[in-house]
Symmetry: C2
Subunit: 378 residues, 2 copies
């Protein structure tokens, strides 16, 4: 399949998740993404293993994030390597880095220096907290940014501890937004021929993610307060939340209280007019919770489905992977490591002209593509 | 400032969050985004209020998501309106809709019909669960998609109920990814002149978000299990998590146990070699938790800072908004409603050539731009 970004060259001076996650999406959309790595150490993410799963001398995590890319090994302190790198930059469309502020400048690879070599470059800097202010040199680690950004106070129930989201959301969001801005900048560069500097941070991405909450807070002058029972969104009324049943959990989204009463035969709800759904939400949710515990998820789901109510089961990964609704999405793809070994990961989440995008190409070894790249540079 | 998508016309047949959130980003990047709305009812999101905050006869929530756009009122059952709409489509670059599968086709506005009018269109369909399979007609509501996708089992601690993230993450992520694919498709359309159909769903976006977890699960054949105490990432060792102190909370990211011991003088940690950090994580986290309760956040943060350890405070929104690290980001912008009224919201999370993107333009009233648009169409 001809992909939208065919012909675009991206140099990824990035480590761990945010930058490499942007590179992965660009690669899946057709760009040629070349990781620039230290000849001995390689990208730091190669050594970051989760559950102690390794593919070769790089971790499964690294292979997941860096499939479908090339690797060019270069020591930024070696002048010969730097000469090759400058030749490569002269042909590149995009540079992404997520080093702490000042590192690339000290190596002679700051935006101004790169623009001298390649005036049309889209140069992207990802930081933890922006490039100024008291946090600029703090570690841009996901849990820490979640905690500083207020995000941990959106989740879990009121009166309890703030609950961080159990995934690297700041890295992932910022990487995804970098892709938006990079491709938009490419459109402009093609019109004007002039390069663009993009600056993003995990912190700004997590604030943007909370834009509805912040705007509500700015106007009401009161910070949203998590429901004290079964919270699922601090701004929403009962019944919104996840409820335990006899042997499982179901999610109950927004609906009028009396519709819920009729569907699930919960007459205790008759005491609550709709005007109370926000102000008495904790009390109402406890009434619903006690009622839902009396029957299985299957029982409640059948009743809800008959009336088209917004209620669905809460699945774990095993249940999800076994469901026909997951299978039909065709979300999995195999990455070919060598003749005998493969691993399974998920694909790029879009269909283009009806087709999913899959690529079996594995992550490169450090410097695996040096020779080919040098030959092509002449 | 000249913006990257100046000159691009986007028609938004969208409601609530996912589609309008994509439109908002495209608008902030310079596109002209025109909402197509029913002349009487308008977009359904206009009536969706949180905390009962209204700006006019549309909610603050609607104004937050739909600022910087125009509105063209058209009744899709009225032939005269449809004629105008076809003229508008003939000039559009992008269409986004998030109706349930089949709705736009029945109105004569499916991809094939639109391509007849505008061969270069980038036509984007956002669904809840994809367009086939047993979930295709289920309500694509955020909490329900979180629950079906396994996401709720990433957060909160093991042995406890699954915890939904307290924000509309499926809508927001899918809207953000739509922007990536739309702009990438625009690059290709400019080369080939041929239109593109893009299909996304909240479900696929939430699966993509869990890509590291799913890949680990596929290989280890064991689903990640949340830590049973202070979970912050099912795949990570102690000390990773949020801890209560005397009067607050701090986040402790990854670090060797003995480094933590030395920095925070927690000799009980000496019993645990680093190999135990994953297998005994619950026990170790309880040891750390008991120790951290004995002093204030300020005390621990000073010690951590001196040693450059990855520990930061957990801030709520008030604390965050008052911090110098937030102020320096310049994240807020004012939207002008009329001579006397404004409201404050957050800006697009990027700097382009050093400048933030702000626009004070408010959301339109239903059909506010009909006259101007009709004149421009001749």
């Amino acid at each position: 399949m001809a992909l939208p970004l065919d012909g675009i060259i991206v140099l990824e001076f990035s480590q761990y998740l945010s930058g490499p996650c942007a590179g992965l999406r660009l690669a899946d959309l057709g760009a040629r993404v070349i990781k620039i790595e230290h000849p001995e150490k390689g990208e730091a993410g190669r050594k970051l293993a989760i559950k102690n799963l390794w593919v070769d001398n790089s971790s499964l995590l690294f292979h997941t994030i860096n499939r479908n890319k090339e690797s060019f090994a270069a020591d930024l302190n070696n002048e010969e390597d730097m000469q090759w790198l400058r030749k490569l930059i002269a042909r590149a469309d995009v540079i992404i880095h997520n080093f702490r502020p000042g590192v690339m400048e000290r190596k002679g690879l700051g935006y101004e220096a790169v623009k001298e070599i390649r005036p049309s470059i889209v140069y992207t800097r990802i930081s933890g907290y922006g490039e100024a202010g008291p946090w600029k040199n703090k570690p841009g680690q996901d849990l820490l940014v979640q905690s500083l950004s207020g995000l941990a106070y959106t989740t879990g129930s009121g009166g309890e501890a703030p609950v961080p989201l159990g995934l690297g959301i700041g890295d992932y969001l910022c990487g995804n937004q970098a892709v938006q801005f990079i491709i938009a900048a490419l459109i402009k560069v093609r019109k004007t021929g002039r390069g663009t500097l993009l600056q993003l941070s995990l912190m700004e991405s997590l604030i943007d993610f909370q834009f509805e909450f912040f705007t509500t807070y700015f106007q009401s002058r009161r910070a949203p307060e998590r429901a004290r029972f079964n919270n699922a969104n601090a701004l929403l009324s009962a019944p919104y939340g996840v409820y335990q049943t006899a042997g499982g959990y179901i999610a109950v989204a927004m609906m009028p209280l009396q519709a819920l009463n009729r569907a699930l035969q919960c007459p205790a709800l008759e005491a609550y007019p709709e005007e109370d759904a926000f102000s008495k939400r904790d009390e109402i949710k406890r009434v619903i919770a006690a009622h839902l515990l009396t029957q299985t998820s299957h029982y409640w789901l059948q009743r809800a489905e008959a009336l088209d109510l917004w209620i669905m089961p809460v699945l774990n990964w095993e249940q999800m992977r076994q469901s026909a609704g997951y299978t039909v999405l065709d979300m999995e793809q195999e990455i070919v490591l060598d003749k005998n070994r493969r691993f399974t990961t998920t694909r790029c989440p879009v269909r283009i002209n009806g087709a999913v995008i899959k690529s079996g190409r594995r992550a490169p070894a450090v410097g695996e593509n040096n020779e080919d790249i040098k030959i092509s540079l002449g």
